[in-house]
Structure formats: C-alpha cells, structure tokens
C-alpha cells in the first residue's frame, strides 16, 4: 500500500513491522473499550434519545404558535436539532451496530429506522458495508464523490467537472435525497453496468420510506395545525433543509479536506488488519470542537476514530481520540484534524480546484509509504 499524503517533512516510510505494531496497538485499544462497555454507555444513548424526543415534541408543538415569527423560528430550530440528533448521534451510530451489545430491540442495528427518506437497510449496505470496508479505495468506495463530484485528483477530469461546486451545492441542499439514491448507483446504470431491474426493489423501498416521511412532515402535521397548514409545512421543510446543510457539511469534512488519502485496488489487495487500520486513519479527517458540537455531529467529528472502530459507541470516540492521536504521532503518521471552518473551507476549496483541468492545478506532494512484505510499494512514489 503506497499512500500519498502531505507531511511537512516529506514522505514517511512505514515498515511492514511498524504497520503490524500499529495494528496490535489499535486492537488492544479496542479490546479495552469493549471490555469497559456497560451502564454508562446505556445511559448516554438514552439521554440523547430523550433529548431528541424532547426537541421533536417541542418543535411540533411550537408550530401551533407558528403565526408568531419567534415561535415559528424556535419550532424550526427545535425540529432541526431533533432531526440532526436522530440522524447522526442516534441513527447513524445505532445502525453501525454500536449498541447491539445492549440487546435492546429498539437500538438494534438490524431493526432501527431513522428520520430521513433513505431506508435503513439500503444505508447499511451503501455505508456500513461498501464505504466502511473499502474506505477511499477508487473503484470500490462510492463515497468518493458519490458518483457526482470530483473530490480526488485520481478521478478523471472532463469538461462536465466544471460544474463541480454547483453539483456539490445541490447535493448539499437535497442531501437526504442524495443519500437515499446512493445505493441505486445511478451512474452505473447510465454506464450500462447496472440494469433497471437490479434496482426495482430498492426503488420500491425508497418510495415506501420516503412516502411515509413526506406524508408526516408535509401533510399530516401541517393538517393538524389547521389554519396554520402552510406555516407548519414551511417550518418542517426548513428543518429538513437545515438538517441537510449540516449533515452534508459534517460528512464532507470526514473524508474530503486536503491531506486525506485515497488508494487503488492493487495497493489494498490482500490487506492485513494493520494495513486496514492505516488506510482508515489516512483516509479520514476530524473536526475540533466542544462537547455539544461533537454530539451534534454524531461524533463524526471523530471520523478517524469512527473509521478505526465503526462499531464502538460514539461517546467513546472523544475519550480515545488522544490515544489514537498519540499513536499516529509516534509512528510519524498524519492525524488530519482542524477547526470546522478550516476543514469545511478546505473541502470547498477542493471542490472548486478539482473542477478545473489538472493542467491548471498544482498536484499534491508524496507522503507516507507503507512497505509491504519487505518491499516498498512503488505506486505513487
């Protein structure tokens, strides 16, 4: 596995032994957390669920006063917070199996549904399996640009790429719908690699799930407020959009800021557990912030920790982050982190930069090289 990265000191070379050592240390860290899981984690997730339900009920209630602008705004804010918590700190994490060990039917990864139009089972395939197994491998991880965007130099440029920032903007506004369509792999249908019959059942599931969501937010709840129908409808719509902007931003900060690495299938064939860990670390980026910020981002602000241990409860990520960082430093590996404005700024800069033909853009320098079976991989060196 050869990895391109920006390190101020130039390329870092990791020996095969060093990679295995990293694997052992991370395995030990994981084992320690698993051993310690218990009542505290249960209390944590239930406190988040209680808060989320509270915000939801408050948001729906405030819509009855929606004729007064401050109440309407407060209602929208409440509902937005509720949807963000539901999607990120609860939904995303529960569906990763982070709380399966609790054996609570309501918090089981196979049974959980979230408050967004994408059916949970499709998300578990496109995200838990495809993205988390093949993180940042070109041709395998469809999260690299989501089939729409150019977010990495290794993606070919063509004139259509000029619209890159614009596509990103539309994806951001309609993010929940983009997430819903992700598992369809529409670009593969356009290329003839997938047929419509392959996706029939997916579409059916989407219609069913999205139908329920739309009915609830845009028909039933507005109707229940009687004369305030339009005001409630607008409020629910605004909350959904606001949630989209936020989730898009957090998620794009996880893998697309500068300094994040991508890989090829050859580099990652027959990976060892240690190499898998290194790929997860170099392919993810964190965001710094306070406790509330981390919770509101579903702790995806700890994307590195999440990618190393996707099934550990999210409240553990902030606790183990210092250890992961120290381990990265010890081995000279980059630990990509920065403030929210820094990371999101870097994401948008990249979206603009990669819209342009490669000839006009300066390319990234070479960085970490991982020795496999005693020989330095030549890719990218």
């Amino acid at each position: 596995m050869a990895i391109l990265t920006e390190t101020p000191a130039g390329p870092v070379v990791l020996s095969a032994e060093q990679v295995e050592e990293i694997g052992r240390e991370l395995d030990a860290l994981r084992a320690r957390v698993v051993e310690d899981l218990g009542e505290r984690d249960r209390e944590y997730i239930y406190s988040i669920i209680k808060a989320q339900r509270g915000f939801e009920v408050a948001g729906r209630g405030l819509m009855y006063l929606g004729f007064l602008p401050p109440f309407w705004l407060a209602g929208v804010a409440s509902l937005t917070v509720s949807k963000i918590l539901d999607n990120m700190e609860i939904g995303h994490n529960v569906m990763h199996g982070q709380y399966d060990w609790m054996r609570e039917p309501g918090l089981n990864s196979r049974e959980f549904e979230w408050d967004t139009v994408c059916p949970a089972d499709q998300w578990r395939h496109s995200h838990n399996y495809m993205h988390h197994t093949f993180t940042n491998i070109h041709g395998k991880d469809r999260d690299i640009g989501y089939g729409i965007l150019r977010v990495d130099e290794a993606q070919a440029w063509n004139p259509l790429r000029l619209g890159n920032p614009l596509y990103a903007f539309f994806l951001m506004v309609a993010f929940e719908w983009g997430v819903m369509g992700h598992d369809l792999e529409v670009e593969n249908i356009v290329r003839g690699k997938r047929s419509w019959s392959d996706i029939k059942s997916l579409v059916k599931g989407q219609v069913r799930k999205a139908g329920k969501q739309v009915l609830k937010d845009y028909v039933i709840f507005p109707a229940l407020t009687g004369p305030l129908f339009l005001s409630t409808l607008a409020g629910n719509f605004t909350a959904n959009i606001a949630r989209n902007l936020w989730t898009f931003s957090i998620i794009f900060c996880g893998h697309f800021p500068s300094g994040v690495q991508t890989f090829t299938e050859e580099e990652t064939a027959e990976e060892t557990q240690g190499e898998w860990y290194v790929r997860q670390m170099l392919g993810s980026a964190n965001i710094e912030g306070g406790r509330t910020f981390h919770i509101m981002s579903g702790n995806l602000s700890h994307q590195i920790e999440h990618h190393l241990f996707p099934d550990l409860p999210a409240n553990r990520y902030p606790e183990i982050a210092p250890e992961v960082k120290a381990l990265a430093e010890k081995h000279g590996l980059p630990y990509n982190t920065g403030s929210f404005s820094q990371q999101i700024g870097s994401v948008w800069a990249k979206l603009f930069k990669l819209a342009l033909p490669p000839a006009l853009v300066k390319s990234q320098p070479t960085g970490v090289i991982v020795m496999r079976r005693g020989t330095a991989s030549e890719v990218g060196v």
């Binding site: 084992a31 698993v34 899981l37 218990g38 009542e39 505290r40 984690d41 249960r42 669920i49 209680k50 339900r53 990763h96 199996g97 399966d100 060990w101 609790m102 054996r103 609570e104 039917p105 309501g106 089981n108 990864s109 196979r110 549904e113 979230w114 408050d115 949970a120 578990r124 395939h125 838990n128 399996y129 495809m130 988390h132 197994t133 799930k209 329920k212 969501q213 009915l215 609830k216 039933i220 709840f221 898998w276 996707p310 099934d311």
Partner: protein, 353 residues
Amino acid sequence: MVGLIDLVERLTTPHPLDRYLELVRPTLTLRQMRAEITHVRRSAVGSVTLTLRPTRQWTGHLAGQYVQIGVVIDGVRHTRCYSPVNTQTRRDRHIELTIKAHPHGLVSNYLHENAIPGMVVDLAPAAGVFHLPEQRPDRIVLITGGSGITPALSMLRTLATEGYQGRVLFLHYNRSPEWVPHRAELQALALAHTNFRVEMLYPELGQDPNFSYDELERLAPWFAAAQTYLCGPPGLMKAVRTVYEAEQLSDRLHLEEFVLTVAPADPATAEGSVTFSGSDITTENTGASLLEQAESAGLTPAYGCRMGICFTCTAVKRSGCTRNLRTGEVDADPDQPIQLCINAPVGDVDIAI
C-alpha cells in the same frame, strides 16, 4: 384501538409509538409487554419469589408453562425463562415467579440480590407445551427436583383451586427442607386435600434414597394409570425416564428440561455440531467462523465485510455457546443476534438461518 395506534404511528414514524411512551413510563407501552415487580419475598434459602404486575397485554398462562423475562444488567438486556408458580386462574392477573439463584446464573443471581418493588422487567407471553391438559387426568404424578419445582407448583395450586377430585402425588427432591420454596404452603395443601400426597425427599441428607421404581411404587402404586409431569436436574430426569421406559409408560411421561448452556472449559476447541435450523442442516463444528461453516454446508447467508464491521451477517443464535473471534468473549445466552463472520461455535450451536 389498533386503528388509532396506527394513526398515531404515522406521526411518530419511523419510530414505533412505544419508543416514545416508554420514556414517559416504562410500563406505558402499547405493544411491548412488560411487568412491574410489586413484591419481593426471600423465604427459602437461595431463592426469591417475585410478584409481577404485567401490562395489559398479558393473557395469562397454563399451569406448567413458562414466561420469558428480560432484565438489564450492567447495560445489557438478558432474558431468561421461568415458570410462574401461581394458579393459572389467578384473578388479579399478577404473576408469581420463584427464582433460584444458580452459582453461574447471571440473571437469577442478579434478581436474587437486586430485585425490589417498582423494578420493571420485559415480559414475553407464556409458552411451552409442558402444562396440564384442559381435560384433567384422573391421576397425576408431579416429580421435581431443585428449581424444577416451579411448574409443578403452579399445577398443584391450580388443581387445588379447581377442587380437583383425582389423586395427585407431588414428589420433590432437594438438598434440605430450608431450600424448598413454598414448603409450608405445600404441606398445608396436602393437609387440606386428602387426595394430594406431598413428599419431599432429601437424598443429600442421607435419610432418603434416590428416585427408584420401588420408591414410586411405594408412594403411588397407581402411577401407571397417571399422567406424570417431570422437571428437574439431569440426574433425576434420567432416573425417572429409565423407570418409565422399562414400564413402557413413556407416552404418559411429560418432561420439561431446562437447558443450561455452560461454556466449556476451553472455548477454542472445535467439537459438537452446528445446526442451521432455518434450513434443516447440521454439520460437525470445524472451529471456523459460523459464516464459513454455513457456506461450506452449502448455505448462502448474507454478508458484507467478513471482518465484523458492517453487521450484514447478523443472524439469531437460537441456542448454544459462541466465541467472538475478535474479543474472545463467550456468549451462551439463547436467542441472541450474533455476527456470523466473527463468531465461532463452541460445542453445539443452533443458528436460525
């Protein structure tokens, strides 16, 4: 009512209404049955008797059946089966459970030490075919040992309240009198009903012999004409079965085995057989992950990462013990979802795929 719930669930979609109601009060749930502990009594040594008030979904039990209850211990919900000891005709719809604390019984120990009134537990509807037939037989033998007493207690009490006129032998084995739950009540029942014979034997005290044909013949010479209900530890079960088989009375013998899965001393050994009960396939345990064993048995279970991160391969383990290949953790709880790709069977295991 159901129509109304459905309507409200349009509003709470995608979450079931119960996920909201339980936050207000754990026993407010509409679909999920729960029960609140109202009384806790520790009379016999090593056991505790709980009275439970189930939520409105409870439809009662037949004497001899069991219920499953779930309690949270250190953040994890564990479920176990217990036979209610109350009559099946109890008016106030309460359930009485007598639970013996087993040395390695996580749940029974926990309840023995921590159960207090007000505690809420999960409850599943009564189940099991080990119960008195609706048409009561003329003669009944109840043979139990240790905590196997519970289904028989419910049977005897039910028969007493029904004014049953036939003959009953209630034969119970235990360590010593203090260990027998509800002993005083059993003796009172025997006094009040001349057709009930209650015998308690304590082989460990050396006063009484173990179960034998002669013993049964002495206490109930009519046993061949009776329906016999048997529940107890393996040794007792075997002794009784042997006698009934020799007498060609096996069809009159009804048994309830409690399957206690105990983790073998060395979990890494590959022995026993793996049953995929959803597809009627049984194979020798090879020690490989359950996913690999299922595949080499010709099955095609769903999978993704094959490394324990995506949870695509999760399936329900009906019974048996498994070992997590990543953590080494051993799990012997029945009916648990497990990841096939990172769990290996330890001894006999039944997977529902």
